[in-house]
């Protein structure tokens, strides 16, 4: 069953700024959707429009078939976790979680039961009588989630909920959020700028760029078949090598001297891409091109090698290679590489669409 439908939803601010031209998205029940993009791409605005904190300028938002455009946030049956948690500082953890239920006129005994259920699930039982300022960052985060969970909403909204935590805690909370969501089966919309968070959490990802949904799909779809160079560069770390080239009868012409053979009907300017992990080290005879090594990042399990394509003029395109295990090549030495055709990504340079 389709739970949330965004139909040509757009946002124009009163000052004329066109934040989001038009986004179409339909979310299945129980799905975990992550909105991801660089800062200023409109992902938070989109989430806040679903929440009802921003008005919807054009288009329609439906939750369970019901039009929500003009409903107050409290009437939409949604719950939101904010970036800074937004816990009420003067209330205890219990009151923070119970406040929304109280406002709905739920009987006290029922509130107590619900809050204690959720508190047990999140391991907050001992903290119920504390004030938010007596809690650590991770505990506050949990309380914020608990406040959202007690209400049994149709949809959870998360606005970069982990960005205020340290790296270790972030990984831990990420796993926890995913498990909770699976357990509860609540439809979730999650905003982040961190592509690792996005890849690990999402059932489906929405990559936003300047208010436009560049691509919507599963993490593996996006990794394997990015629709645009923007998605290709955004998903995956280190990001994909993208080089402007020309598609000719001989193949992909990267520079005067370097043409990678390919038969393709398209002619003209393209963006040629290959992920750093798909480049292979080879010997001189079988290599497609050579790389002049400029920097080596050894991470133990893998090694990132930064360099430039070796050309006669010396102005080659920068390229990153990712090799598993430790490698210690000399800086400024040459490295011969093979780029298997099956891993190529080709995009039309004009339309920015995948070929």
């Amino acid at each position: 069953m389709t739970d949330v439908i965004l139909e040509k939803v757009g946002k124009t601010y009163p000052n004329g700024y066109h934040a989001i031209p038009s986004v179409d998205l339909s979310i299945e029940e129980g799905e975990f959707i992550v909105l991801v993009g660089p800062s200023g791409c409109g992902k938070s605005t989109l989430l806040r429009m679903v929440a009802g904190l921003e008005s919807i300028s054009t288009g329609e938002l439906r939750i369970r078939g019901e039009r929500m455009n003009d409903k107050e946030p409290a009437e939409r049956d949604i719950a939101m976790v904010f970036q800074n948690y937004a816990l009420y500082p003067h209330m205890t953890v219990y009151d923070n979680m119970a406040y929304g239920l109280k406002n709905r006129g739920m009987p006290k005994a029922q509130i107590a039961e619900k809050v204690s259920d959720v508190a047990t699930m999140l391991g907050l039982t001992e903290l119920l009588q504390r004030k938010p300022r007596q809690l650590s960052g991770g505990q506050r985060q949990r309380v914020a989630m608990g406040r959202a969970m007690v209400r049994d909403p149709k949809v959870f909204l998360f606005d970069e909920p982990l960005s205020n935590l340290d790296a270790k805690l972030r990984v831990q909370m990420r796993v926890e959020i995913r498990q909770l969501q699976r357990k509860l089966g609540t439809t979730t919309l999650y905003v982040t700028h961190d592509q690792v968070e996005a890849m690990t959490l999402a059932d489906r990802l929405v990559v936003l760029n300047k208010g436009k949904a560049e691509q919507i799909g599963t993490p593996m779809d996006l990794y394997n078949k990015p629709a645009t160079p923007f998605v290709a560069a955004f998903i995956g770390s280190p990001s994909m090598n993208l080089i402007n080239a020309n598609l000719t009868e001989q193949g992909v012409k990267i520079s005067e001297a370097l043409t990678l053979p390919l038969s393709h009907a398209f002619r003209g300017g393209i963006v040629w891409g290959i992920r750093p992990e798909h480049l292979e080290v080879s010997d001189e005879q079988n290599a497609d091109f050579a790389l002049r090594i400029q920097a080596v990042e050894s991470l133990g399990a893998e090694t990132l090698i930064h360099g430039k394509l070796e050309t006669e003029s010396g102005h080659g395109e920068p390229l990153v290679v990712r090799l598993s295990g430790p490698h210690l090549p000399d800086i400024n030495s040459l490295m011969w590489l093979r780029a298997p055709v099956s891993h190529w990504h080709l995009f039309d340079a004009n339309t920015q669409q995948r070929l």
């Binding site: 904190l53 409290a74 939101m80 904010f82 948690y85 937004a86 929304g100």
Partner: protein, 282 residues
């Protein structure tokens, strides 16, 4: 900054002691004077230790008519003062809270203009607008009434400004979280905003109570009925007796009584007062 220089400690303590003496000496003299007969002041030297007329003076002041043309007892005037001071204080706090709430959290045309107009009334204290205000109060038939004593003094730009600053520091996410939790404007005001500005309200209470208690010119102007006389204005009235002895001992006792409530408020609310002006828990 922590410094460990003995002479500096000595100097600072000495300064503080001199300060205390300067402030406390007149109070001490008033206390001593209230225990001497009224005639003790005419003889040329000022007594510095208690006399033996204390019980008599305080008995008169506390339980009998104030005298010198004032027909109400001092305790009754204290009550009047208290009603006026509390009326002004609570009125000011309520009105400023509401106007600051409107200015900060609601979008309406000319919002900023409204704020600046309120702010400009800082330049119009009672003393400046006293004649027109008197005219208005007189036309409304509010002379000699508690409403007349308090209402014209209730509007407060200072308090509105203070609450505006306090509300502006409330994070936007908190407002949004409350909206998500289904709190309407009133609920948000009472459940979130009031508890958050608790310390600011307490600090303002202290300042405004003292302001209200010490009102002199306005009560003097609009009360002609003894039943509405306030303590502070009556002290002056008790002084202006045409020939005959001024009852200095009674006046001193009354003065001390007039000082008590503000002192009590300051001491009682000292902690909240400092907290409200200094830190914010948001």
């Amino acid at each position: 900054m922590i410094e460990n220089r003995p002479w500096l400690t000595f100097a600072s303590h000495a300064t503080l002691l001199i300060g205390i003496a300067l402030v406390a000496l007149p109070v001490w003299m008033a206390l001593v004077a209230s225990t001497h007969p009224a005639s003790a002041f005419g003889v040329g030297h000022i007594p510095l230790w208690f006399g033996d007329a204390g019980a008599e003076t305080w008995g008169t002041v506390l339980f009998e008519k104030a005298g010198n043309g004032v027909d109400t007892p001092v305790w009754f005037m204290m009550l009047n003062s208290l009603i006026m001071a509390l009326g002004i204080t609570f009125g000011k706090i309520a009105i400023s809270l509401l106007s600051a709430y409107a200015i900060v959290f609601f979008r309406f045309p000319f919002r900023n203009l409204c704020f600046w107009i309120i702010f400009m009334t800082l330049m119009l204290p009672v003393e400046v607008r006293i004649v027109p205000t008197y005219e208005v109060v007189a036309n409304l038939d509010l002379l000699n009434s508690y409403t007349g004593l308090t209402l014209p003094l209730i509007a407060s730009a200072t308090a509105t400004f203070l609450f505006r600053q306090c509300f502006l520091s409330v994070p936007g996410e908190l407002v949004e979280a409350a909206r998500m939790d289904g709190a309407g404007p009133w609920r948000f005001f009472f459940d979130i905003l009031l508890p958050l500005s608790r310390t600011n309200i307490a600090a303002l209470f202290v300042i405004l109570f003292i302001y209200g208690w010490n009102q002199y010119l306005w009560p003097l102007l609009i009360t002609t009925d003894d039943a509405y006389y306030t303590l502070v204005m009556s002290i002056k009235r008790m002084l202006s007796v045409t020939d005959g002895d001024i009852a200095w001992n009674q006046i001193m006792a009354t003065t001390l009584l007039a000082m008590l409530p503000p002192v009590a408020v300051v001491i009682g609310m000292q902690k909240l007062f400092v907290k409200g002006l200094v830190d914010s828990e948001k």
